[in-house]
Symmetry: D2
Subunit: 319 residues, 4 copies
């Protein structure tokens, strides 16, 4: 029973290890693996090809995804979803593994309601903004890329009295910012989920500076759109020479960490096993308290991810 794997939406480290395991595991099972190139657009345009061991040689340590990814406006139209289905049908593919976020899962769910097709989603995004799972493929690598950048800034921070503002990714979710702030001991962390109390922060910093603090590290989630506001505030209100770093896409690159590789393998095996089982249906592979499970698409896409309050509690308190 032929299965295909596809990446959809923003890329994340860990996609390549998942792609490799998909191919190796299907051959081990005696089944035929296919690649859908270029995500949903490739599905519409029939960019579907058989996958070989050779295709996945030496990709474990590469960032990105060898089968590429995309976002697709066309996929919102029935005609194009129909075309996508027929492309799969040509190869007798009735099951898909989809590496992506809830947007991609929603799109696939719609398609699979219209046509006889099952898929299993593997939550894949560095933003860690997907409901129902503790972590997503790519998060651990992104956090350690950020860590490496913050280590470099720390290294030099104490040389010169200065404030550093570092913007990290996460779209509407502050997870990357919170964990980065906790593990780098940042003095300030701005996230969309929490209001920033300028007054309290000012009093706190002024007091600390009086007590000898000579630098400040502020982590800002891109979702707050306040990176340059906080920089101005530190420069003018707090009176520290301030430097801004916007990490951007560096956070999506780099060799996947050991955790992300293991996560990719574990999720892919579960996704394939489910698609090959008699009772196959649409699911998302999740991790809860360190245990793997399967959840309904609806539950995943109809709820909003919330940061664990205990995590927020571990931030340096400004009081």
């Amino acid at each position: 029973m032929p299965l295909a794997i596809m990446c959809s939406g923003g890329d994340a480290p860990g996609m390549n290890p998942a792609i490799k395991k998909f191919v190796d595991y299907l051959y081990e099972k005696g089944e035929k693996p296919y690649f859908v190139y270029n995500g949903l657009d490739g599905l519409i345009d029939g960019k579907i090809h058989p996958a070989t061991h050779k295709d996945v040689g030496g990709i474990l340590h590469r960032g990105g995804a060898i089968i590429r990814s995309s976002r697709s406006k066309r996929f919102y139209e029935y005609e194009y979803r129909k075309q996508a289905y027929e492309n799969l049908k040509k190869h007798d593919i009735t099951g898909l593994v989809v590496l992506g976020g809830d947007g991609s899962f929603r799109a696939m769910e719609k398609m699979s309601q219209e046509f006889p097709l099952n898929f299993v989603g593997i939550p894949t995004t560095i933003d860690n903004d997907i409901y129902g799972t503790d972590t997503c493929l790519g998060v651990d690598t992104a956090l350690n890329v950020i860590r490496d950048a913050l280590d470099k800034i720390r290294d030099t921070a104490s040389t010169f009295s200065r404030a550093f503002v570092v913007e990290v990714m996460g779209r509407e979710c502050g997870y990357l910012a919170v964990v980065s702030a906790i593990t780098s001991g940042a003095e300030i962390c701005l996230v969309p989920e929490v209001d920033f109390n300028w007054h309290v922060a000012r009093e706190h910093l002024k007091r600390e500076i009086r007590h000898g603090r000579n630098y400040v590290l502020a982590i800002v989630a891109e979702g707050t759109k306040m990176t340059f506001d906080i920089a101005d505030w530190l420069e003018n209100d707090i009176g520290m020479e301030t430097r801004v770093t916007v990490l951007g896409h560096i956070q999506r690159g780099g060799s996947p960490t050991v955790n992300d590789r293991m996560l990719a393998f574990e999720c892919t095996i579960r996704a394939v096993d489910h698609l090959l089982s008699a009772t196959s249906s649409n699911k998302v592979v999740v991790v809860e308290n360190g245990n793997f499970g399967m959840k309904e698409i609806d539950e995943i896409v109809n709820n909003k991810y919330q940061i664990d309050p205990e995590l927020l509690g571990m931030l340096n308190r400004l009081d």
Copy 2:
């Protein structure tokens, strides 16, 4: 109620984040933190000093441990344990956080049976060979240091037809080797827990080489003491030019990963909370299925860690 923190046995990345959290958290609680320098030897020699915020500034991203560690023969003698206790008593310290392995926990348990003293152990070793916990402080960093080394070898492996033998740490435990082999796609993995079938491996490799394989990566756990045997075998029996890498102490260095920092924080908070509680007693902080817990020293030190069979099952099968 004054508490002290001590490192004992081999060092591991993550000790410094634990030390920093110990100091910051105790001050937050209004308690007085102490450092025991040089492990058990320092305890005997009274190297016990109050800890300040300043002591732990800018250490989060440093490998090693600023309070140093040691192994101690003297501690086996009652006289020295008595002396160690009296040193703690001078500072009214009745509770200790101990970063180390089961040997250290056993030693401390003995002492606390003889004198009114409680301690909480935080499993800290890159070898991941401690019973009752899924992971230990330092393991994630060590795995990613190994990964970085293997990525470099992979990068160049396909340029030249060759076999690479890489020895990783772990003492009697094959965990580092197994996870490294799985996540780097190594063809061969030798660990103390599993007999290596030379005949099957030879047939397997010969067949793969006939089918075009032009390099082999073998991960060997130091505990097998077979690093150079396997290299000779690859060179002479299999007939591939072979190169050996012995990673050694590189695996204990490097900036702690985000996971190891979070683990250090979580364990230290739990250890301190327990020592400050009325019902305090000797415990070890553990992680099971992603959940934190506390276990009796006896259970930890009287059982042997076993690698999860499912992990062994994920190794490339040589058949």
Copy 3:
């Protein structure tokens, strides 16, 4: 004859290796080394202390500078320079090694015209904007930190059709941007020294995109202040989804490269030898065509650094 070392202006990787060599080499010579902490401000405030081997243990691989640096407005006033001189006199220090840029050299030159004091400047800045020397302490490390960031972006670039704009440091000098663009194969490079031809670039990119190019990497020198203009242009005129990275102070951090450590050692030895020589006078240590030399302060501070035209010629030509 006691000598002191001081850092002045922006910090750069390589300062610590220079500081270590300064101490070790003076002891080797039987002379007494001093540290001036906090740069020119520390000189004014008498933050001058004897340096020991212990002070410089384990600092070779640390970014930043253990003796800190600063910029000083007070130093423009004679009264403060007089005070600074008297602080040095207390310790019979008549020679200084100064790690900094031309601004710092100019300030020290003024002081040494007013008081019996010699200094040797070691060009230290990641910006590589000092006349008369091919390279400055810190440049090689900064270039490789940028390289590491660009490698991560390249890794993922081909996964998704996108444009990446990366802002690098260099103040008014485009050196870091030019070398980074050449060695990363960037399609676009904006520097203060060269006018950017929007029209030609547009035609070029449009043509390349028609021929299948699916991503663009643009390196922008901070001195152009055009980072976000070019991003808008790529997004709107060229029509590619665009992401911005502002590397900021990451470029000043990280462990000094082997080249920067060797450069630090070589320059420090020459600086010390000159200050200890009978004919000592104010100089700057320079590197020309791979050879070390000494130049007059005037020549260094009264001329403007120009990027080698041959280097500019190696940029991807947009025609």
Copy 4:
């Protein structure tokens, strides 16, 4: 006039940037670039193919060489060299760029005396053991990979009283060991070029240990074959717990440094320009005191590289 590029002998970081520049630059010149795959063996077997821009996309930051390399016994026989020449002739290739060491240059020289063929050698080896040039392609990257490993060991060294022995590559040449020892501040450095005075070293270390030294770092060049002897000596004679690291092929991997990329570009451009010139003849591109030049094959292959005595003088003196 069609030209080909070939890698021969051990691989080194920087080969891919040279390969990319070769292709891009020849197209810029309106000439046709060819790849010889698998080195001299591939030359004999006719593995010669036209190269396209697409072949060299996204390889700048990859270690190894996409056209692979090899050593060849067959090439010693006239018949095979004749066959190799005829393979080139089929494509009208009369000029080759050869990335390799003196062994490869000698082999090509022989061939080009027998047949109408010119080549330019680019010294490419991490061992830096080629006469007539200050540096070779790959050396800077290898030195920084070693540095990164030594930084990790330093990080943890002071935590535990211990000696660390690190074996680095270099075949019969001690260059990598010497520069690594200088820039990491190693206490001991063993190279083939210098006799190691066991007695003096023992007295020196004993004295330092009495004065409080608690760890020793020893860098050993593989050419000395003394890695494990020195480890035994440190363990038993000096009496320090000792750990061995054999870096092995990690030193040939990793993303090429900025210096190695620039060196690759500069050498390739000069090699191509020379081969396209009317007066073309066999040469090797060299770097002397930071200046590029061309030398005769004979001079390169008939002399032995010597480490700069000044470099040896910068090693920690054991007296």
